[in-house]
Symmetry: C2
Subunit: 347 residues, 2 copies
């Protein structure tokens, strides 16, 4: 009799837990979406194995920079979370970029690219750093001349863009990089949980998820990338200090020239956030707990208790995903017509 | 009858060719050696899968540099022949290194490391760039503190150096990198030919090999790495111009402080030479044909005919090998105790 009672109690308790887990999942699924099970398609830029391989080669090729020092991989390092773990990136001539380098992982799922969303997609984004004087400091003409000087690249572009008269072009370089980058999606425990695996998140992470929704974090950090869409003023309730929000970077204002867009940024996508310190566009905050507290105060007017911060940080840890296995490409060798690298800084 | 005669003639011609191929191979095998079929063992530093994996992680980790910008991979890029395709490498603070970065591919088979042979082995070599102020500009203390701040690295070192009280040390960092680098050997058509495959080299390459031996190139560039051992003055017969041989870099003189060692360098290993322009310790020559002509004049007092140069260059092309497939490691994430990177240049 006692054993039957015990069993009944345990069963009731378990089904209670399951019910509440299912309830939380139902609510969460109104706000978040698990990663797709296949590589996201890029509108207007269909992926083929040839294009993905070409894109991978280009992503790793330092000869796309004027100096030969930097490739896409330099600031979007796939061994360290898809970013470079620096406040702001170091580029040509040891110049520092204006904003923290965002992760390339899952970036294909962002509504727009860059902290101010000034590029509509990853192809548009890829053209930026190649030309930026403080990053790769190259010109489209020199990048194309470099690629054209290597017969293997000419073949690869022809195979990736069949039937195009000018297959090897700066635009197609960016398109190939985009389809490679689209492969960089990182399924995480949170996806497993959203997909129905109760054991994928622990109690602390579940409590963190609950808080993340209850406190209002998920008003901006939602969807498949837990952010990465929508534009919001940094300091909606209370402006953070100048150290974190430097007054001379007015964010999206530079894109729209609308006063309403002063200090407005795209909500950061939070997948793999535990790997991508330092935080914010300024890269001034190294500790995820501190970043969470700053967000709570500046955006929500909330002062979190230490255990609440810890729970939210635990939940954010469940967004750390598995990086797809990437084998290094073997790049074509330069020829006698390949432009030489230059470390000269043009002022 | 006619057919029989023809067949006899063809058979005789073929066996004549085979005989001469075998003869050339016999002579070549007195001077060269094919790559071993397994990863070379490193004396005093036995390889284990754990140590090789740790070494790979360290090789790719930019956090071994003070700035977080440079890893071993930066200047020994495995996608572009194991070097960086620059005259001299760019390092911390955009400073330029004094000499051309040599390839890491097959470097384990060199008698000693660096252009002047000042490091006995790859473990000793690996400690150099990490500390050099114009390269990674780090200190052993900061490198070890960085690694120790990440529990995953502590575990990996313990597994790679079992039973050692201080498994995570600067020395063991270098040892792990060494056993990873030992895996980077690149079997080439020349190895296949040395191993008996007549079809691996074409007529022009065979003629180039013959010339390479007849003219005396192989007096210095011999052995398994077609160089990489022995020290010789650059300009044995005739000093090349100051552009190629800058007067302020006296080579091995800086190591031995012996007048005889002025402008003496270790004979360059020639495997993958077609991939590793620009050439010489100064990195001033971009064209392999020009480099061959300079060598012939300065070391042998020979003026090569254009077709001879072309044949030698064709032979050197047969030293371009297959780079082993390398999958990018996923590195441990920083923690709150990880030292922050610094781009500051200490004068």
């Amino acid at each position: 009799m006692r054993r039957i009672l015990l069993l009944t109690l345990v069963t009731t308790a378990l089904s209670g837990l399951a019910a509440s887990a299912n309830e939380l999942r139902d609510i969460a699924l109104e706000t978040f979406k698990p990663l797709p099970s296949t590589v996201p398609a890029v509108p207007g830029n269909p992926a083929t194995p040839e294009k993905v391989d070409l894109g991978k080669a280009l992503f790793f090729d330092p000869r796309l920079s004027a100096s030969g020092v930097f490739s896409c991989y330099s600031c979007h390092n796939l061994t360290t979370g898809g970013d470079d773990n620096m406040e702001t990136s170091v580029g040509h001539g040891w110049q520092k970029g204006p904003r923290n380098s965002p992760t390339v992982l899952n970036a294909v799922l962002n509504e727009a690219q860059f902290w101010d969303g000034r590029a509509d997609d990853l192809a548009a984004q890829a053209k930026g750093p190649v030309q930026a004087s403080v990053e790769m400091a190259n010109t489209p003409e020199n990048a194309v001349a470099t690629l054209k000087s290597m017969p293997q690249y000419v073949e690869w572009f022809a195979a990736a863009f069949p039937g195009e008269e000018e297959a090897l072009s700066f635009d197609n370089m960016a398109k190939a990089i985009e389809v490679f980058e689209a492969t960089l999606i990182t399924p995480a425990p949170f996806d497993a949980w959203l997909n129905g695996d109760d054991s994928a998140l622990n109690e602390e992470q579940l409590a963190g998820l609950q808080l993340f929704m209850d406190k209002g974090c998920s008003s901006c950090h939602s969807g498949v990338n837990v952010g990465g869409h929508g534009y919001y003023p940094f300091g909606l309730i209370e402006k953070p200090g100048a150290e974190v929000l430097p007054p001379d970077d007015k964010g999206r204002f530079a894109v729209t020239e609308t006063v309403d867009d002063e200090y407005v940024f795209r909500a950061a996508p939070l997948r793999n956030i535990a790997l991508t310190a330092p935080y914010f566009h300024s890269g001034k905050v190294w500790d995820l707990s501190v970043a969470v507290d700053i967000m709570a105060e500046s955006q929500l007017g909330e002062e979190l208790k230490p255990e609440e911060t810890a729970q939210i940080v635990a939940f954010l840890g469940s967004l750390t995903g598995t990086v797809p296995s990437v084998t290094l490409p073997v790049l074509p060798a330069e020829t006698s017509t390949t432009p030489h690298p230059t470390t000269m800084v043009v002022q």
